[in-house]
């Protein structure tokens, strides 16, 4: 019995292939965006985990010294006092293919499961290929390539943390020219008795490692951002499915009734419909997951570039997927279908054989429903504001964001109805009054699709404003920050001296850009030195400073900190600033430092050299007449022997920075467009659904003399007007969204606050686009109406069959 029922049901799709395509397309799109985003997030997180568990399994605490490196004697003393710790040294090595972060580990004392130690055992030749004077460096194939041809043998090992090279401790110490280590990883399994840390190594502190958690926290905003987009697209996709399923069910009401009359029980009918939907969900889910893979694979290189550029987080640019991901993609497709079809299924279950076979118009404007929605909107708004005022942290920022969007979406039908009522109040022709009243009457049926459109538009405006504001601020800031015309890096200190000799008299100024790394207030930071020069006085982007900041820098006093560090630690000009090495200076200024994941301190150059004699003294900024850049570059190359790669002019550096920026937001842009496209499809399916059911409302108007052509034009206009109104309402929502992104999320996520700029021209384009999309979506139902046989319309007045 089930089979004939199923055959009968499936016959509908044979006659309406486009409906089937819509249904599958909607579901596949929703699943695709969702699972694509999930795949990207999973890949990034796996990369962080690999980086974090590179040493100490990612879970182990560490011993660190606030005063700098830890002598090996301290390590031995701790071991002999019963502390199971393992030394780690870090630094940069220059490979033939560029700089690589080197991590020195001791596989003999490393906690169990340390990936690099496991890898060292697994390589050809075993552990003896890793330890000992001939021991190799281990790195991922991509990183190994950059080290190939250097002074040490290199082995490529899959699955290591990207961007890192690992060496046996003595070899790493030799490569880095060090005799001490940076930290001691604490073995999770400690022995029964051990001497107190304060007795053995009073200078050391126990700390959580800077690991996946930190990297995760740093990049959370980005992933939440992606997830939010994925969820948004999924929700919008479900609107499409809801439309398609609703349409199919309405059109098959006569069939359902007939089947029930033929003796098919309500249970069997529902079961068959469920089976049918399950098949669709699985097919669409499979397509969606496959599409999701393509989306993820296409976006991942950009995502990796973003994470590297914004957070310094290394992520592999290739995708590895687990079966769990495939299954969860299918599951979300099935769950989504269930969600979208639940009301329709309820209708089928309650269908009696004697029920009307006529498609029933969807819920009419119902004052009560609308009030309930408004109340829910108010609740969402209150939750959002509560999170915004009381909460802090990234999550509450996103709750604020989500709450605002939900509130706006829920309030949309009421707002639209209000606007339409206002428009309808103007006296006009009967046709015009009918138009407004009828449009208002249609809002509930279209409300889901319009909500989807609102969300997509608001997200588009909000994210667009954020990115544009960021871009403008960033560009202006780059102009300030990159004030030198030419940036050069000597290969050795001797060459640097030779270069300075040659440059003497050829430049307006040679500004050293010397730096070192250290731990400032418990987190890694860059420490730079500056000389007092008008370049800095005129250009350096200070947000806040003591009045005579540059005079004091000239006198060798104080320190400038970047906004990230100041916000994280609550620093203000005048505050004391403890520095690595156990001395303290004073914060004299705070400057903006966009795009830097690390805290940064700028000291007077003399102080930098005095306190940290081992600073890297190879980088310089040259102030020269821009017209002479080529001449100086050529001179440095020919007469000093500086490789061309070691000289970058201002323009190239700016271009590079902007390129990083653009790639950073390429993903955002792509997701934005995709979401909008999905919203367009949602409107189309909703309109198609409504078109059929609206015949009883249109037939009387036709009978009164309005031609089908006119009716079609009015229908088209209606959808454009609804889209336009939704767009107008989306603008304030989008701007609030942008403000939250700039003033709340950015500060939490990156540690900097950006000024907000408005871009009305972009809105105009978006408005035209959404109107065009709605017009396009309305075109087909309108054309169908125009070419509808008059008999269809007459039949509306006939008695029910």
């Amino acid at each position: 019995m089930t089979w004939p029922v199923l055959q009968a049901l499936l016959g509908h799709w044979r006659r309406h292939p486009f409906q089937m395509v819509t249904l599958i397309l909607g579901l596949a799109l929703a699943t695709a965006l969702w699972s694509g985003v999930q795949a990207i997030n999973a890949e990034a997180r796996a990369s962080y985990d690999r980086a974090a568990s590179a040493i100490g399994g990612g879970q182990a605490d560490e011993l660190i010294s606030p005063d700098g490196p830890i002598p090996l004697a301290t390590y031995a003393a701790l071991r002999r006092a019963g502390w199971r710790v393992s030394p780690v040294v870090e630094g940069w090595v220059d490979g033939p293919g560029g700089r690589v972060r080197l991590i020195g580990i001791d596989p003999l004392s490393a906690p169990p499961g340390t990936p690099a130690a496991m890898a060292a055992v697994g390589i050809e030749g075993g552990i003896l290929s890793f330890i000992g004077p001939q021991g190799a460096l281990l790195a991922t194939p991509a990183t190994a390539e950059r080290l190939e041809g250097g002074s040490r043998p290199v082995r490529a090992v899959e699955g290591l943390a990207p961007g890192l090279a690992f060496a046996d401790l003595p070899n790493a110490l030799a490569l880095l020219d060090r005799q001490d280590v940076d930290r001691l990883v604490i073995h999770p399994d400690q022995p029964l008795r051990q001497s107190p840390l304060t007795e053995v190594a009073p200078g050391l502190e126990r700390a959580r490692p800077a690991t996946a958690d930190d990297l995760g926290r740093l990049t959370d905003s980005f992933h939440l951002n992606l997830t939010a987009f994925g969820l948004l697209s999924f929700a919008v996709g479900l609107f499409i499915v809801n439309g398609a399923v609703g349409l199919a069910f309405e059109q098959r009401r006569p069939m359902f009734r007939t089947l029930r009359a033929l003796g098919v029980s309500s249970g069997r009918l529902v079961a068959t419909v469920v089976a049918e939907l399950l098949v669709f969900a699985l097919v669409a889910g499979l397509i969606g997951v496959a599409l999701g893979y393509l989306i993820a694979a296409a976006l991942l290189p950009d995502v990796a570039a973003t994470l590297r550029g914004l957070y310094g987080a290394a992520v592999e640019g290739t995708l590895t997927l687990s079966p769990v991901w495939w299954l969860s993609g299918l599951a979300i497709a099935v769950a989504g279908t269930a969600l979208a079809a639940v009301t329709s299924l309820w209708g089928v279950a309650r269908l009696t054989p004697l029920a009307s076979a006529r498609p029933r118009a969807w819920a009419r404007a119902n004052r009560q429903t609308m009030l309930a929605q408004l109340a829910a909107a108010l609740l969402a708004l209150m939750i959002a504001l509560g999170a915004g005022v009381a909460g802090h942290g990234l999550l509450s920022g996103f709750i604020l964001l989500g709450g605002l969007l939900i509130a706006a979406a829920l309030a949309l039908p009421a707002a639209l109805t209000g606007l339409l009522a206002l428009a309808g109040r103007q006296r006009g022709t009967a046709l015009r009054e009918w138009f407004w009243a009828d449009t208002r009457q249609q809002v509930p049926g279209l409300s889901l699709a319009l909500m989807a459109l609102l969300l997509a538009l608001a997200a588009n405006i909000g994210v667009g404003t954020m990115v544009q504001s960021f871009r403008d601020t960033f560009t202006g800031w780059l102009d300030q920050r990159l004030a030198s015309e030419l940036y050069v890096t000597a290969e050795t200190e001797a060459q640097a001296a030779e270069m300075l000799d040659w440059l003497d008299g050829r430049t307006d100024a040679v500004l050293p850009i010397w730096d070192t790394e250290g731990e400032v207030l418990g987190a890694p930071a860059e420490i730079y030195g500056v000389v007092d020069h008008p370049t800095y006085r005129d250009n350096w982007p200070l947000l806040d400073a003591v009045p005579d900041v540059w005079d004091r820098i000239g006198a060798g006093q104080g320190a400038l900190v970047n906004e990230q560090l100041a916000r994280r630690e609550g620093l203000a000009p005048g505050d004391p600033l403890p520095m690595p090495g156990g001395w303290t200076t004073e914060v004299t200024g705070i400057y903006s430092d966009y795009g830097n994941p690390l805290g940064q301190v700028i000291l007077p150059n003399g102080v930098l050299i005095e306190r940290y004699p081992d600073v890297d003294r190879l980088n310089f900024g040259l102030r020269i007449d821009p017209a002479r850049v080529d001449e100086i570059t050529a001179g440095l190359e020919d007469e000093v022997g500086l490789p061309p790669d070691n000289m970058v002019d201002q323009a190239a550096l700016k271009a590079f920075s902007l390129d990083v920026f653009e790639r950073t937001f390429a993903v955002t842009g792509a997701l934005n467009v995709l979401t909008l496209a999905v919203a367009g499809v949602a409107i189309l399916t909703s309109l198609l659904t409504l078109a059929n059911m609206r015949l009883p409302q249109l037939a009387p108007v036709w009978a009164l003399g309005v031609t089908r052509d006119w009716l079609a034009r009015i229908e088209l206009l209606r959808s454009v007007i609804l889209a336009a109104l939704t767009f107008v309402l989306a603008i304030p929502v989008g701007l609030v969204l942008a403000w939250v992104l700039l003033a709340v999320i950015n500060v939490e996520a990156f540690g900097w606050r950006l000024p907000m700029h408005l871009y009305p021209l972009d809105w105009l384009w978006l408005g035209l686009l959404s109107a065009a999309a709605a017009g396009l979506a309305g075109l087909w139902p309108a054309r169908r109406l125009a070419s509808r046989p008059p008999s269809d319309l007459i039949r509306v007045f006939s008695n029910e069959r």
Binding site: L72, A73, Y75, A76, A77, R79, R80, A81, G82, R84, D106, P107, L108, S109, P111, P112, G113, T114, A117, M118, A120, V121, G126, I127, L128, I131, G132, P133, L169, P170, D189, Q190, P191, L192, R193, Q194
Partner: protein, 350 residues
């Protein structure tokens, strides 16, 4: 006692281990290849003490191996093991080319607690000095004015021991004046023992602290050569017999089922008599499933030339050392023509 590291080497050749700690196992495997550049054992070498109690880094492998059979104030029988291995990853004797490994265990009839540590040389984390004597890896330590009088300590996450070892007899060279031959092909090591320790101290167990006293045995051995390729494993005993005599014996198993036996009969005043191949026989009498392997846990040991016909049976069957290189090591009880107690080690049961 040479058997121990040799057996370790054997057990890892061709066997890829997958757990953390694999590190050393692989190191041992590497050792199995060649002795080029290292000193070789010499039949004409005579021990000079205390210098020879210290390390011999010009040799590839070396160990300090202590076991003790103890009786607790609670009347229970206990055993402890403390081992320090030195392995050179390159010839030349440089401290940084030494890799150190230590094993410790405390055993009772129904308990066997173990721990394992590794260290690299040259950092001060592990090493051996002859005068005053000290051998250590991390906080595990054997130290005293001389090797005849040492304090011993080791610990795991939920146990520890602190014992004092005092020798009441001489250090005893094994083999021919300390030159101990391992196979017909002539592979050998330098080998001496101190089987006359009196031991007192405390075991700190998960159930509480126990005062103990008993007898201890030290083996010192160094070499540079691996075992013959066809030697697959090892069964070894060191026994304290009533009346004060000591018996050391082992059986090197070959892949073809035959074996090569070595042993030393030591009188109560410390005079050694080497036992030639075949002079001691060892036959397994009872086997048990230990860590998923079929392992002999009771042995018939016969040395007809000294009137020995005894059965040595494990105090606890499950004395499995789940280390980077797993093996069985635990106390045994002796009955038969002589009674007494001692230690049994077995390797190569994969």
């Amino acid at each position: 006692m040479n058997a121990r590291v040799y057996a370790h080497i054997l057990s890892v050749i061709g066997v890829l281990l997958t757990v953390p700690g694999t590190v050393l196992a692989q190191g041992f495997a590497g050792l199995g290849s060649s002795a080029v550049g290292f000193d070789l054992p010499d039949p004409d070498t005579r021990f000079t003490f205390p210098e020879d109690h210290g390390a011999h880094p010009e040799f590839r492998i070396e160990w300090w191996y202590l076991t003790a059979n103890l009786t607790g104030a609670d009347g229970e029988d206990y055993g402890i093991q403390w081992t320090l291995f030195r392995n050179a990853i390159a010839p030349g004797g440089a401290p940084e080319d030494q890799v150190w490994m230590a094993h410790a265990a405390v055993s009772a009839p129904d308990m066997h607690l173990t721990a394992e540590r590794f260290a690299r040389g040259g950092l001060g984390q592990a090493g051996v000095t002859a005068t005053p004597f000290e051998a250590w890896l991390d906080e595990w330590r054997m130290a005293g004015p001389s090797l005849a009088d040492v304090d011993l300590t080791a610990q795991g996450s939920d146990w520890a021991y602190d014992l004092t070892f005092s020798a009441t007899g001489p250090f005893v060279p094994q083999g021919q004046n300390g030159y101990s031959v391992k196979s017909e092909e002539g592979l050998a090591s330098q080998y001496y023992s101190q089987p006359f320790y009196e031991v007192t101290g405390t075991l700190t167990l998960p159930s509480g602290a126990v005062d103990v006293s008993g007898q201890g045995w030290l083996d010192r051995e160094w070499s540079s050569q691996p075992l013959a390729p066809d030697q697959t494993g090892w069964d070894w005993v060191s026994l304290h017999l009533d009346g004060g005599a000591k018996l050391m014996g082992y059986r090197l198993r070959r892949a073809d089922g035959t074996d090569y036996t070595v042993g030393t009969w030591i009188t109560a005043d410390g005079a050694p008599t080497p036992l030639n191949d075949g002079e001691i026989t060892m036959t397994d009498e009872r086997r048990a499933i230990v860590a998923g392997r079929d392992v002999p846990v009771a042995w018939a040991v016969a040395v007809p030339s000294h009137g020995v016909d005894i059965r040595a049976e494990a105090l606890g069957d499950q004395s499995w050392m789940e280390a980077a290189v797993p093996y069985w090591e635990g106390p045994v009880t002796v009955e038969g023509s002589h009674s007494g107690r001692g230690y049994l080690e077995m390797t190569g049961y994969e």
